[in-house]
């Protein structure tokens, strides 16, 4: 199994569009692949590939504290035990003499439960999201949906990866492409762990360069090679030149430069509405074709 993850550090550089288009081009050539959308906070690959969900599994969350206002004496021992600032006197404390919980701050550690002498606090389990299995034109896909505000996005990414492995194995598919989340934190680490190649999708902006280098540092920790795609390459000549020099200096491979092309920019919308009848011809699409070919080659090169 070969696993390629499209990542970027910075959001909005074109990860999802590139994943969707290159996967479609491969499928057009008769090769199917398994897909994972590991941006479980805002999954867009299912939209771009018009995924049809075939099944879903609940993803169990942690629990959150609940205070029984009847039993609470307002002593505040819970607030002293809580390190997340989730507990405090209620708005009408002088009348009600109770404490209350801010569920957005609670991390479910239960330190308050042991601290409460009146047994007024219990932990209640929550459902943190879902893992979906779906069908798309290029092949089976798994993606996640995290309940808003949950703190388990990395764990859900790992579940999406597991589900994708399962879907690939069931069909004997040997190639998996992963649409990664932005950032370099817990969900990004879960998305790149155990992959063979990180495709760093960047743009010639200061932010794009800065965030790409953070991603490269992370990938090196995991000893995963990074290949770079420079998207919107003609947006800034000086920015592109600086990035090319940086990529060369870091010993990274630049596998394609996609010029800004309005015909490509509208493709996510066309794909999402099922209105893409033919690929546009032009410099943008040519660059994407050559990136798809490079990625297709890569597996055969590794045997």
């Amino acid at each position: 199994m070969q696993r390629i993850v499209f990542a970027s550090g910075k959001g909005g550089t074109g990860k999802t569009t590139l994943t969707a288009l290159t996967a479609r081009l491969l499928a057009d050539g008769g090769e199917h692949l398994a897909l994972a959308d590991c941006d479980v906070e805002a999954a867009n690959l299912p939209i771009a590939l018009r995924a049809e969900v075939v099944s879903s599994e609940p993803f169990a969350g942690g629990s959150k504290a609940v205070i029984d206002a009847e039993a609470c004496r307002g002593c505040g021992a819970c607030a002293l035990a809580c390190r997340f600032g989730a507990l405090g006197p209620s708005a009408d404390y002088f009348r009600a003499q109770t404490y209350e919980l801010d569920p957005w701050a609670c991390e479910g550690c239960a330190a308050c439960v042991s601290a409460c002498r009146y047994g007024a606090i219990t932990m209640v389990a929550s459902q943190a999201g879902e893992v979906m299995a779906a069908e798309t034109a290029p092949g089976p896909m798994a993606f996640g949906r995290l309940a808003p505000g949950e703190d388990l996005s990395g764990k859900l990414v790992t579940e999406v990866r597991r589900k994708t492995d399962e879907l690939a194995e069931a069909r004997g598919i040997e190639r998996m492409w992963i649409d990664g989340p932005p950032g370099v934190g817990c969900p990004a680490i879960a998305a790149i762990t155990g992959t063979d190649l990180v495709v760093g999708v960047t743009e010639p902006t200061l932010s794009g360069e800065h965030d790409l280098m953070r991603l490269v540092t992370l990938a090196r920790r995991f000893k995963i090679p990074v290949a770079v795609v420079l998207n919107k390459a003609d947006l800034s000549e000086s920015g592109a030149r600086r990035l090319r020099e940086r990529i060369a200096a870091e010993g990274l491979e630049l596998i394609g430069e996609i010029p800004y092309d309005p015909a490509v920019a509208v493709m996510p919308g066309l794909l999402a509405r099922g209105e893409l009848t033919a690929y546009p011809e032009g410099p943008g699409m040519d660059a994407i074709r050559s990136i798809a070919a490079w990625l297709a080659e890569r597996r055969s090169a590794r045997g």
Binding site: G12, A105, P268
Partner: protein, 303 residues
Amino acid sequence: MPGSTPHIGRLTVAVASGKGGTGKTLVATNLAVAAARAGSPAALVDCDADAPNDALFLAPEAPQVSAVDVPLPVVDESACTLCGACRTQCAYGAIRILGGRVIVFPEMCHNCGACVKVCRPGALREQPRRVGEVEWGRVSGEITGPAGVDVITGRLDIGEVKTPTVIRAARKRAEILGRTLTVLDSPPGVACAAVAAMRGADVLVLVTEPTPFGLHDLELAAGLGREMGIPLGIVINRDTGGSSDVDEFAVREGIPLLARIPFDRRVAEVYAGGGLVIDEHPEGGRWFEALWDAVRALAEGEA
């Protein structure tokens, strides 16, 4: 928030989006400068600790840096009786007993301290572990005018996962500075990191683009903002003119449209080079002065 008192005359504005790369940093940096020039001393907090970029546009002079540490439990094996109370207490599965030893997994630990409290032999104590840093300083008054902008950057160490902890530390620094206006440049997504950035804000500015991905992720972010009870408004970036699905969504949901920034190559070029659109684009001043007025109106209307 329980236990907090509103600061009279102070305003906290979170700039968020769901989808990455929609223009949060563009809006947050230029908004902070527009507000300062209109006389409000501002603190701009870069809460995108995975990929912080605000300081590329507004570099503080002589910045100060402090480390962000978390308390990590360590085991004194000579005192440990292997009773397993810490493992039972840990809500995160971060403590295991393997080969006759208590093992703590730092990346799973939430640093809640509950294990230390239940350890009867006193074999657990906490040691600081660095997970990131906060950098802060004042931007030159030549750029911002006499009211001034302080830029505070939360930066996660590469390979670490405690993004929300770093965000909270950066916000704490802003609180200490105590400026009239705090602008929180939030990370993409709708999970714990976004919540850590948005929690307690008076107003939520959601930056989106008129694409299917932008709309989908805007719906998620608006849902989160509403659940958190924060008054919200929308900025449409890369607006191509005419009424989009985003406009329809705003009307249907009764969410005010605060500003439109047109799809304009010059905006992208200024951003690419790390410039401020408010100064380097002929329309920039007008856009962000109007946005600052709209944000204040939203805050006052809901107060």
